[in-house]
Symmetry: C2
Subunit: 479 residues, 2 copies
């Protein structure tokens, strides 16, 4: 619906402005709904949301997670049962208080997350060890009355995610589930060509009600980290409050151990667009592109029939091979306009066909990532398309990985110095919360936690207080 | 999660009780969430919702509708702009009034339908005839503070649907859109083997703000009609209020004409389960079954490897042919338990394999609709499966069609008499609202409207007041 397709700002010059402009012009989101922090997912955005969701659901279902959908509202009595949870979320929920002009008997909050929606039912459903593990997930929108600055896809008051909620026999089983979550998430992030580091969040930065929180941070082009998903081991914290018990094989009553996992779909999408995009618009990695290939016929009145016949033939062939192809045969726009539109909207590969191509049995292709244009023999098209889509994915992945460079620092001065370039900074740390506060105050950056799956032994002293360092942690400015 | 799989009540004896029990036991919905009228979609239900949604989206996209997602909340100032609309919906919306413990500056209602969310943006986006028709849709949950009796999937305070919102140049274009909607919907209902009649709703029963309302009614086994979808020609009613104008080809400013179409996914699902199910549980039509074929291996310790090898082989073969197959290799349940569970959950076709079958190169199949059991040569399996799934669909469709029998009546007494058997009753009618009220008061039944696409000329007098009849209308008790 945008009439002007060009971007007025370069990504390298003003990332923030570029990001807002590209999301609007490529029809990803529109922020002009008129309620602060609420965004409209536009067609390009919604198609991409559906692709990300599909990838996640496929992986979850492979591991036997089953879909459900709980109500959007949570009664206050359930919501306020777990003390840490209400402390963490109480100030940032929207309350429904009226039905028509009548006051409701009990306030209902719009779910900020759904532990307190699911778990009262878990206590009804779960009776025996035979039912465990119970693995349910939902695709849903969440609501948080967030008072910080909002930014489309990254920080909004309504956002899109998947949340899984599992019940397990033991803490160890729960920990295994957390590891399975990591496997699921990493496989999807790989397909989106999204670079990430996996952290164990420090005590003070855990999810409200969790025993342990693991979080995925990606790094944006402006040097700031963005959390795109978390998985939590809740232990028995919620099961004791909601009385979720099972009879074990010996007939003994036990509390279940729980986990929840939240891939942040809106944020994953935002990060993917921010990281891969360029001055012409967004670029979708081929494995997640709603349209992988667009075919643009180039014709005059005289050659229209002939050209459309050929493009229709190619469309059929490529679709048969399983590619997501779109034939843009709109008469009211010029080929040039179409080229610009599909570049803006990030289609990885464009095919152009004119009468001369047909005569020469050739096809012209344009790669969205490198903007290279290649002409090949028509008979080699299918073979070439497989190759070039792979190559685009590979190229995007390598380019994105550069954002993950990590630098070392051993004191606040070095941290500040390094932060000028953005990115992650590795520092020895004492693991005390007041040192984290001080670091934040002095540098504006946050402790993202120790890295998971890599033993990094601290040498020397805490970069903030000079006491003996307990862990190596990663520091970054963050959204 | 249900431990007892058998139903305690027969469908023919107490439809209402049967319906509630089968939905709970087959894990379609759970009504014990604790907030009146809010249901939990359980795994069987959610998988089916996803299938229905997929069918609808596929059809919509064929006709160039594009997906979007608007916020769940609508600011009061937009919601109350169109006078008829607010009159129709004002008493039945939930209001969000607080963020944390702070009062919001403006109340936000949870969308009961989204005209007033979409159309302020349409006035921003639409400038030129080049942009028309604009065809957007969203898959979303709606909220109505309905004070009538709630019933799972049929009447709840939160429900699932798709809504399309289009903007067109002329009233005639809008009418063509309504016809396209009909084509889309009828194709999906056919795949669900759902019988229906299509009515033009009388003036007093139109959508709040529509020029014309067309509605699909199905007929449930208890003889009551259920509206499962509507499509509305809104004319310029909303575009004048929201100032949605475009420049036509001659440079003249005009108001757009609008349509909206709402296939009620929750209700379509409920009707499908209610109509096709039997005393053993639900029955999915093969073209919409989340699982079309379940394979149950039957083995002892000694034969386990051999049997699982064979079932794995068949699973692969059938999946390759595009069937949705599930291999139930859970060790903790007996084959008998599994048979019951999959019958309850409505899988159309079951395959059993034991060591003797393998030896004889045979396969045993059970049809869910007729409960017939057939043994065939293994080599004929794929061919037979195609045939039998078709046959199940055909059988369900024919059985369901019987619900649509229509009887005639010419006065209130005959209407009452006929209503004892439920179903649709065809009557001559004067088309006055107070006669409709009287009919409702005297018989409990409603005028569903004149049938679309069939000219039925009224003979004689209005069945209520005796004045000259203007149309033939259909009367039924309704949900």
């Amino acid at each position: 619906m945008s009439e002007e397709l060009g971007l007025s700002v370069k990504k390298a010059e003003d990332f923030s402005k570029w990001y807002l402009e590209v999301l609007q012009k490529a029809e990803v989101v529109d922020m002009r709904y008129g309620v602060k922090g609420f965004q409209i997912f536009m067609p390009t955005g919604m198609q991409a949301i559906n692709e990300v969701t599909r990838l996640l659901e496929e992986e979850l279902q492979k591991f036997d997670h089953k879909p459900v959908l709980f109500p959007t509202v949570i009664p206050e009595s359930s919501f306020s049962k777990e003390a840490e949870h209400i402390k963490g979320f109480g100030d940032e929920v929207f309350w429904v208080t009226q039905g028509g002009e009548k006051k409701l008997e009990e306030r209902l909050c719009l779910r900020p997350t759904s532990e307190t929606a699911f778990y009262p039912l878990y206590s009804l459903w779960i009776r025996s060890h035979m039912q465990l593990p119970l693995k349910l997930y939902q695709v849903a929108t969440m609501y948080r009355y967030d008072t910080k600055m909002t930014k489309p896809l990254f920080r909004t008051r309504e956002f899109y995610w998947i949340e899984t909620h599992t019940a397990q026999k033991t803490f160890k089983d729960a920990q295994k589930q957390v590891e399975e979550d990591m496997k699921i998430f990493e496989s999807v992030l790989k397909k989106m060509q999204l670079p990430f580091l996996l952290f164990k969040r420090p005590e003070w930065d855990k999810f409200a009600g969790a025993e342990e929180t693991y979080a995925y941070d990606t790094m944006l082009p402006d040097g700031k980290a963005l959390q795109i998903g978390t998985t939590h081991n809740l232990g028995e914290k919620f099961s004791r409050v909601f009385k979720i018990k099972y009879l074990d094989a010996k007939g003994k009553k036990k509390y279940v151990n729980q986990t929840c996992f939240g891939p942040g779909i809106s944020r994953m999408l935002g990060a993917m667009l921010a990281i891969h995009g360029d001055d012409r618009g967004i670029i979708f990695p081929p494995s997640i592109a709603p349209i992988q290939i667009v075919i643009v016929p180039v014709y005059t009145k005289e050659t229209k029939t002939e050209v459309l016949e050929k493009t229709g033939e190619l469309l059929g062939k490529l679709e048969e091979r399983g590619f997501k192809v779109h034939l843009d045969d709109r008469d009211k726009y010029t080929p040039g306009f179409k080229f610009h539109e599909w570049e803006l909207k990030g289609v990885p590969l464009r095919i152009e066909i004119g009468p001369l191509d047909i005569k020469n049995k050739k096809v012209s292709l344009s790669r969205r990532d490198s903007l290279e244009r290649i002409t090949i023999q028509e008979e080699k098209l299918e073979e070439y398309v497989i190759e070039v889509l792979d190559s685009i994915g590979f190229h995007l992945e390598n380019r994105a990985k550069e954002l993950l460079s990590v630098r070392d620092a051993i004191n606040l001065k070095e941290i500040k110095e390094n932060l000028k370039n953005g990115g992650f900074i590795r520092v020895p740390f004492c693991m005390k919360e007041n040192c984290a506060d001080k670091l934040k105050e002095k540098t504006g950056a946050e402790i993202r936690g120790a890295i998971v799956g890599k033993k990094e032994k601290p040498k020397g002293k805490c970069a903030v207080c000079g006491a003996k360092a307990k862990e190596i942690v990663y520091v970054a400015e963050a959204y």
